[in-house]
Amino acid sequence: MSESCVFVGVIDCMYGNLLLVGMGMGSTGIISKACSRNDGNGAGTVAPPARILKYGNETQELLKWASRLLLNLLQSFYAIGHICDAGVEIWVFVHFGSFCILPSPYGISKKLTFRQKKKYGISKVLELLQWVADIGVKSVCLYDPEGVLKKNKEPIMQRFSSANLSEEAAVNGRLVTRRNLTLEFVSFEDGKEAVAKAANYLFVKHYANGTKEKSDFTEPQMAEALGAIGSGGADPDLLLIYGPTRCHLGFPAWRLRYTEIVHMGPLKSMSYGSLVKAIFKYTMVHQNYGS
């Protein structure tokens, strides 16, 4: 394993979603964290489809009501199960105090205006980046499906910018900070769209001389093409998702092959302890890579 540590984080400021991708303890380790707005998604928020039963109207209504009640009950048990599970996690953290600072309590959802939400999201991200930098992570990638973070990276750059910014680091949107923390900003376009651009690049390179090449493209050629169009970058070792659900939201597929994907819960309730726990768990993982 290489020595540098990279975190990749993605913030979706529109919805307060942050997907922080971190590179682990190796030179190409990246830790991803997805932070997401805690909009209090609860059980039973979906409109059920109509279901036609073969009985009389009244019986139909009664059966429909009973089914909805049972489903809501099931979903409540599911939610309670998750809350109990979270409670156990907090206890574990307090117990093993040597690994972490006491974790922050789970946040209570607040109604904020859009601007406040945006500010709130950025401040949380800055705090998160500070934590990962303190841990010793060398490289962080912030993934935001809508690309809001890419367009609004000034606060982060101001906080973490280095006095001597190398030109090579500025290429491909990678920024080397004062603490030698490499920051990268990625959005949904760097996923599927980038592969399409890479396909065009490969076509021009291998077919432009007027003859059809017989050999198939290889993975190194694809990686070189992605690098050439500005969507290269090492594969994350660890992807931390801060959000309501464990979903990578379109992070570049080519870079996600063997990445450990961990769900950290909402951004509002992020804690240093859970971050350390996730990294610790990652270090205990053994991958066979198929063999």
């Binding site: 998604n41 609860g42 059980a43 928020t45 979906v46 059920p48 489809p49 279901r51 429909k64 089914s67 909805r68 049972l70 489903l71 099931l74 979903q75 599911y78 499906p145 809508e146 996923g191 599927k192 769209e193 592969v195 399409a196 651009k197 396909a199 065009n200 490969l202 076509f203 021009v204 291998h206 077919y207 432009a208 007027g210 059809k212 198939d216 493209f217 290889t218 993975e219 694809m222 309501p244 659900t245 464990r246 979903c247 990578h248 939201l249 379109g250 597929a253 080519w254 996600l256 092959r257 063997y258 990445t259 450990e260 994907i261 961990v262 993982v285 991958q287 890579y289 198929g290 063999s291």
Partner: protein
């Protein structure tokens, strides 16, 4: 006599279990039901080691668990199911292990084509996704036979990923798109329409006309036979996707129960579906935005 009673008792339990399942699925169906569930069947070898079974017995137990899970999915109303049967990376295993796994796969493909199998009971059409040219001839021919034999089924779809990785799938799609664009260009040139070949002479003029788009790539993906998965379930608690459906899983719920694959049961599926229903509006919103 005792055997007869035993058989009858067994049948009664089966009917009762089936009835209970129907009740649970009726309740679940009030909410949104996922259209497509994918499974990474991890943990067969660890299961065999845990139970002190012979080599290969873990995979056989895994096959039984798979048949049960597919049955539950199709009963619930999930139309598409995809399974990660054998990765290109798995060819790196010991040759004897690869050989015995291939033998088991061949045996089970033959079982699936039989008249009385689950596949025909639920009207399942089978597709094999992956670089099938990497497989040995008997397995490849059996796979092709299974696809032809089930081509008339239309109620549900089972996609079996054999010699598959997502990166190979993406490369294959890129290769196919480039080949297609080349053929289009050559056809235009043969008709005398030289203007269509700007992209071929891009390097000289410096004008490169991008002609491959995301839709072209998606058309050539192995997994284009089914819509994007709604849930990917990986057992044994491992949290990575191991090069499985990376392109298709952008807005997909990833569920990783800590049990080994042969230990998976109805409740894990119910839990996954409840999780999906709980996050349905969020995931739908994300799909619309992308």
């Amino acid at each position: 006599m005792t055997k007869k009673i035993g058989d009858q008792a067994g049948k009664m339990f089966e009917y009762f279990g089936s009835f209970l399942r129907k009740c649970i699925f009726s309740v679940l169906s009030v909410g949104p039901v996922p259209d497509h569930i994918a499974f990474i069947m991890d943990g067969n070898r660890r299961y065999a080691k845990k139970r002190n079974l012979l080599d290969g017995a873990g995979h056989r137990s895994g096959y039984l668990a798979l048949m049960n899970m597919l049955k539950y999915c199709y009963e619930l109303g999930v139309k598409y199911a995809t399974i990660y049967a054998f990765s290109i990376d798995n060819f790196r295993r010991r040759p004897e292990e690869v050989q015995s796994t291939m033998q088991l796969i061949l045996e089970k493909i033959e079982d699936l084509i039989k008249e009385e199998s689950m596949v025909n009971q639920y009207g399942v059409r089978i597709y094999f996704l992956g670089s099938l040219k990497l497989l040995s001839k008997p397995v490849r021919l059996a796979a092709e036979r299974a696809m032809v034999a089930t081509s008339g089924n239309s109620k549900s779809v089972l996609s079996i990923c054999l010699a598959y990785t997502s990166s190979d799938e993406i490369l294959h799609a890129v290769q196919e798109c480039c080949g297609e664009k080349w053929d289009e260009g050559s056809a235009l040139e043969s008709k005398g329409a030289g203007n269509g070949l700007v992209f071929l002479k891009g390097n000289e003029n410096g004008k490169i006309k991008p002609s491959i788009v995301v839709k072209d790539l998606e058309k050539h993906m192995y997994a284009a036979v089914a819509p994007d998965p709604d849930i990917i379930i990986r057992t044994s608690g491992e949290t990575r996707l191991s090069n499985f459906l990376l392109w298709q899983s952008a807005n997909c719920l990833l569920y990783a129960p800590p049990i080994l694959w042969p230990e998976i049961g109805l409740w894990h599926l119910v839990w996954a579906v409840l999780d999906f229903q709980r996050n349905f509006s969020y995931l739908k919103e994300k799909t619309k935005l992308s």
